[in-house]
């Protein structure tokens, strides 16, 4: 999952970046509203965490323009503006959720998880379920027939992305774009390596290869 964090308070961003990365998200960070406006077009983000009081351009205005320009990625507003009128305005402008500062880090993670699942049409349960596979996002492990399968961080990230897009053809480029942030060098071989490891752990038929097109998560049924 590739996230964009738009937050101008460096101290808060310094806390949020490791927190989100620890939970298996690839995160890009921007502090200026004008940069955010442009950047969202360059990369295919799965979710944006947007502060409202931004230098350059107000967050709400950034969000409005994104929606006008046809960008539909989920947006979670994270702001100190906590009046209900502002929350309603935020959702009206096209936000998917609204979290006010100060907040508990766990609350942010839960909201991010909920927004991601909702945007992919999954029900909001304690575990993510798709095609006979269950994923525990808290413990970063998979469950097959009531049996826990341990995953590395990279495997967890990849499996989550597959499970949020079951039955969808995902190219190698798309996968690497959604799993790694802009700072890391992308190597398409890494994708292949992780897919093979997932197959070894969960069964070969879980992820199918379409030659020249990409990969397809079909799970166990």
């Amino acid at each position: 999952m590739r996230l964009l964090l738009v937050e101008d308070t460096v101290a808060l961003a310094d806390q949020l970046l490791p927190l989100l990365r620890d939970h298996g998200y690839a995160v890009d960070w921007l502090a200026d509203g004008r940069d955010a406006l442009v950047r969202a077009h360059d990369d295919d983000f799965d979710l944006v965490i947007l502060d409202l009081g931004l230098p350059g351009l107000d967050g709400l205005e950034v969000l409005r323009r994104w929606r006008e320009q046809g960008l539909s990625m989920p947006v979670l507003i994270l702001t100190a503006r906590d009046s209900w009128a502002e929350r309603v305005d935020g959702l009206r402008a096209g936000a998917d959720d609204y979290l006010t500062k100060p907040f508990h880090p766990e609350e942010l993670l839960l909201r991010v998880q909920a927004v991601l699942r909702r945007s992919h049409g999954s029900a909001n349960q304690s575990r993510l379920r798709a095609c006979g596979v269950e994923l525990d996002e808290e413990r970063q492990s998979a469950w097959l027939d009531q049996e826990e399968v341990e995953l590395t961080g990279a495997e967890f990230r990849m499996l989550r992305y597959f499970m949020l897009n079951p039955g969808r053809l995902l190219s190698k480029i798309a996968l690497s774009e959604h799993l790694y942030d802009g700072e890391r060098e992308r190597d398409s071989n890494v994708v292949e390596v992780h897919i093979n490891r997932l197959r070894r752990k969960l069964g070969g038929q879980v992820i199918q290869t379409r030659r020249g097109q990409g990969y397809l998560f079909t799970g166990r049924g």
Binding site: A11, L12, Q15, S83, K101, P102, H104, P105, L110
Partner: protein, 438 residues
């Protein structure tokens, strides 16, 4: 202070009455004077005709009766004469047995003399010289018939005058009402402004009113800008305080939870306290307690969005029903109303087992908001305490208590009332009433 309309009406009517009385009185005086002047002319002619009837006889002058007007022969006809000649006194037959006192001075006598048979006599004395003889002729005429006709004329004129006055008064009233129309229109617009149905007063008004209208509009804009500015400043302050609070809290959680649990708990409690106070103070300062056309609460637009916001904020299956989305825009500031409803619903959602119901109803000048939930409720003995706690700022409460505090502040600012009762859904019913300007 009486109304301008009444004052204008009364003073105009009085001036009309005064002018009318003066002109009427003047006309009557002039009319009477003319009448007497004409009468004097007639009497002079009469005296001349009496003189003409005196013809030389064998023993000096004699009065030739045939040449006189027959009225001088008919008794008490109202026309009389007396001729003084050589110490003799000739009287007209019409005088019969009455005596005609003679005026002292020649010419028209200014006084009316009561005559026989209730007559009012106007007298004229003339001196002539005929055939070497000095003679004095006094003629008199009854003025009563003229006076009577004069009185009739005066009565008729007075009646006509009263009618004209009444008609003029009506016309005046109409004119005044028409003249005050712009004032009434402006007053209605100000009412609409207060009720939030209009953003500013119409500038296209009478020249006399324009400075007033311009000034009111300026004040209105100034107030809105001021409110906007202070709200923005508060928002900035909130942002400035809350982000560091978030940083501190997160740092506290990650670094101290395991290593120094006691310090962690202390810091978190104090951070909560600061946060609650900041939030409460910001909430209180944010209450606008009044709406303009641009900031009115529109149930149709905002209620569903608010309900949606709450459904997202509470991660549990909730049946959140909203009644009253069909209401027309209300004269309550949008931010205030959303804050009220948001906090009440947030509380209800927190405690509800699965069902929350919001009902908005307007009854004349009163808006009633009811929030029901199927949660545990609050026992009657504790309700007053909960409301009291909500009103106090220094209480160490966060979360539910705080929301109620903001609600309490806002309701107080609008002069409304807040009550807690049992809900038919099984939990708590919060009911608040807000008076709305018409």
């Amino acid at each position: 202070m009486r109304s301008i309309g009444a004052r204008l009406g009364i003073s105009l009517f009085v001036s009309l009455l005064l002018a009318g009385v003066l002109v009427g009185q003047g006309a009557l005086w002039w009319l009477e004077r003319e009448q007497r002047r004409i009468s004097a002319g007639q009497l002079r002619d009469e005296a001349a005709s009496v003189l003409a009837a005196m013809v030389p006889g064998p023993d000096g002058l004699v009065l030739e009766q045939e040449m006189l007007d027959p009225a001088y022969r008919r008794p008490l006809s109202g026309r009389y004469f007396v001729v003084l000649i050589d110490g003799q006194r000739w009287r007209s037959r019409s005088l019969w047995d009455a005596r005609l006192p003679l005026p002292e001075n020649p010419g028209m006598d200014t006084e009316l003399l009561p005559g026989p048979d209730g007559q009012s006599l106007l007298r004229y004395r003339a001196r002539f010289r005929r055939d070497g003889q000095d003679l004095t002729v006094v003629v008199a005429q009854d003025y009563a018939p003229q006076q009577a006709s004069f009185r009739d004329t005066r009565t008729a004129a007075l009646l006509a005058w009263v009618l004209v006055l009444a008609a003029l008064a009506l016309v005046q009233q109409w004119l005044i009402r028409r003249g005050l129309k712009p004032l009434n229109a402006a007053r209605r617009q100000i009412e609409q402004l207060r009720g939030g149905q209009r953003a500013e007063l119409d500038q296209e008004v009478a020249r006399e009113l324009r400075p007033l209208v311009t000034e009111i509009n300026r004040l209105q804009r100034h107030m809105e800008q001021q409110l906007d500015r202070s709200r923005h400043a508060l928002g900035d302050l909130g942002h400035a305080l809350k982000t560091p609070l978030a940083v501190l809290r997160n740092r506290c959680d990650t670094e101290l939870r395991e290593r120094a649990p006691e310090l962690h708990a202390l810091l978190l409690a104090q951070l909560d306290h600061i946060e609650a106070n900041v939030r409460r103070a910001l909430g209180r300062a944010r209450v606008a307690a009044g709406a303009t056309a641009a900031t009115r609460f529109e149930p149709g637009q905002d209620l569903e969005a608010l309900a949606d916001t709450l459904r997202r904020a509470h991660r549990k299956p909730l049946n959140l029903m909203v009644q009253g989305t069909g209401l027309p825009p209300l004269a309550v500031e949008r931010g205030d109303m959303l804050e009220l409803l948001g906090n009440l619903l947030d509380n209800a959602c927190k405690w509800a087992a699965g069902e929350v119901r919001l009902t908005l109803a307007r009854d004349g000048g009163l808006l009633t908001v009811t929030v029901d939930d199927d949660g545990p409720g609050i026992p009657p003995s504790r309700r007053e305490q909960v409301l009291q706690r909500g009103r106090r700022l220094d209480e160490r409460v966060a979360g539910d208590g705080l929301g109620l505090a903001i609600v309490s502040d806002t309701v107080a600012a609008y002069g409304g009332q807040l009550t807690l009762t049992d809900s038919p859904l099984g939990g708590l019913r919060v009911r608040l009433t807000l008076p709305l300007p018409d």
